[in-house]
């Protein structure tokens, strides 16, 4: 295997990285659904999934099995080819975007080849993500059209109008970041944010000393929620009026693909938010000799998570749950101990901070969904064109003036 990797380094190493990332991403997406159900349940004073596995941890597996085994009818008047194409597009484009996301500054060795923690380190990463999100409209629009149902068509039309409107603000809102960093490469955008102001405040673009991107982030986040068709902007689904919007006529695995696509979009947008505004993999803590202990934080966090799982396992109500939870706790603790080792501990710094920040953004995403009511269609369009677009344009003008004035 090592010789093969040495002969075709890009292909072999690339394939390994793609396979690993795909496996991890699909698992994370499945558990994101579980996470969302749990958070929504606790927001509404319920317990959420609890039956399948301890704390409902096997629920995603049960859901996936259900998607696979259910009957999968195609509506009589449907345009069969486009009807199949739409969910494939949604899922494929949603997953592809993660390929350009860099997870950390370090390198790993695969079959003796040193390689960075990103599948495709391209110098237009930001544009590629926007290109893929801009194509995401087709999945929704074509699903709505090809189902030959009035609810689907209305959902598809609404959401293509919505996504086209908010895409403008989404793209404009990050122009400020590009102006500050002077590049489209996600890696270089992160590197441009290193360092601190006044010794403690990280120089993330949100708190950039040149031109703080607070307005930019505000516009980005709202446009991103709308672009991924999530509440309070889920007019494409609007189950009160349109049954289920564009995916009314979809069942079984094709419906599951829309689900994966939606959550993949959510994850991509959160990755991008962290990279563009919160310094990506950079640690929020100041650096210096007195901060040397910070390198053990990932290990400590994993160890604490393991301990709390074990503590929970002791009190769990059934035997299998006690065993599973304590095993998971032990596994987390073992990974934590591994993270204290020389070499590993430098490598995990980037991914640890990056994924922690992404987790916080994802939580806010879910929190927003279960807190705010849905906008009316005219309100949605008014916000997009009369508030968000001028605000993001203003951000571009202000940021470029500040960048010119202060450089």
């Amino acid at each position: 295997m090592n010789e093969l990797a040495a002969q075709h380094p890009i292909i072999v190493v690339g394939l390994v990285k793609i396979a690993v990332l795909l496996f991890v991403l699909l698992t994370v997406l499945a558990y994101l659904v579980w996470f969302e159900r749990k958070v929504s349940a606790h927001i509404q004073s319920r317990v959420g999934p609890y039956r399948v596995g301890p704390h409902g941890l096997l629920q995603p597996l049960a859901d996936a099995l259900k998607f696979l085994t259910k009957e999968d009818p195609t509506p009589a008047g449907a345009d069969r080819f486009v009807y199949f194409l739409a969910p494939l597009l949604t899922m494929g484009l949603g997953i592809c975007a993660v390929a350009v996301v860099p997870f950390g500054p370090g390198t790993i060795r695969i079959f003796g080849q040193s390689t960075p923690l990103v599948v495709a380190d391209v110098n237009i990463g930001l544009l590629i993500i926007f290109a893929l999100t801009s194509l995401g409209v087709y999945g929704v629009a074509l699903a709505g059209w090809s189902s030959d149902s009035k609810y689907s068509l209305l959902g598809g039309l609404r959401s293509s109008a919505q996504m086209v409107s908010y895409e403008l603000s989404l793209t404009l809102s990050v122009v400020g970041v590009v102006l500050l960093a002077g590049t489209f490469s996600l890696r270089e955008i992160i590197m441009a944010q290193s360092g601190t102001t006044w010794g403690f405040l990280p120089r993330w673009n949100l708190f950039s000393p040149t031109a703080p991107q607070v307005l930019g982030f505000f516009c980005y986040f709202i446009a991103a929620v709308a672009e991924t068709n999530r509440l309070p902007f889920d007019l494409a689904e609007a189950e009160g009026e349109l049954v289920a919007g564009f995916h009314t006529e979809y069942a079984a695995f094709k419906f599951g693909m829309f689900f994966v696509g939606e959550y993949a979009g959510m994850v991509t947008v959160s990755f991008l938010a962290v990279i563009l505004f919160f310094g990506g993999w950079l640690s929020p803590l100041p650096t210096g000799p007195h901060m040397a202990w910070a390198i053990y934080l990932p290990a400590a966090a994993l160890g604490l998570a393991g301990l709390s799982l074990i503590a929970d396992a002791v009190r769990y109500w059934n035997i299998s749950g006690r065993i599973t939870l304590s095993m998971m706790g032990l596994a987390l603790g073992a990974i934590g101990i591994l993270c204290t080792r020389e070499g590993v501990r430098e490598l995990v710094q980037g991914p640890f901070w990056f994924l922690l920040k992404v987790f916080v953004v994802l939580f806010v995403y879910v929190w927003v969904r279960w807190t705010l009511p849905r906008f009316r269609y005219d309100q949605l369009m008014a916000i997009g064109w009369k508030v968000l677009l001028p605000a993001s344009l203003a951000n571009v003008v202000i940021t470029s003036l500040l960048v010119v004035a202060r450089s």
């Binding site: 345009d79 110098n123 544009l127 926007f130 059209w145």
Partner: protein, 164 residues
Amino acid sequence: MTAELVVFFALAALAVAGAVSLILQRHPIHSALSLIVVMAALAGLYLLLEAEFVAAIQIIVYAGAIMVLFVFVIMLLNAGVEERTQLSSMARYAGVPLTGVLLVVLTFHVARASAAMTAAPLTEGMTHKVALLLFQDFAFPFELTSILILVALLGATVLAKRDS
């Protein structure tokens, strides 16, 4: 045959197949989808030429914005399957032979010119160069074009509002 050549021919074949399908499809949505395939294949060809910025813009602007509007309008009008018509005698006796002549002439000139062509040196910072050209050397035509588009937009709005 190098890997680059294989990718080139695959993308070129995809682009041509998409273009042929664009004409042969009978439903407007299928034609629009074929056009998107052509644009995606062209973006791939730009990538092969290491013009990543142009490739990304090709996808974002053409496939992601303009074609979305096409699809949107087709959906909104609920356009159905189109009727096939027989070729008119004008097209049959003048159009088809002329198309053949045009094809031969184009092939001849492209073949002759490409023999003399050499690969341009690869340049870093393609985006930077495009921006400099656009906002320094060609700033005036560029701004003029945007004003032209704005005028067209206003004109369309005026025409649309006239009835109501």
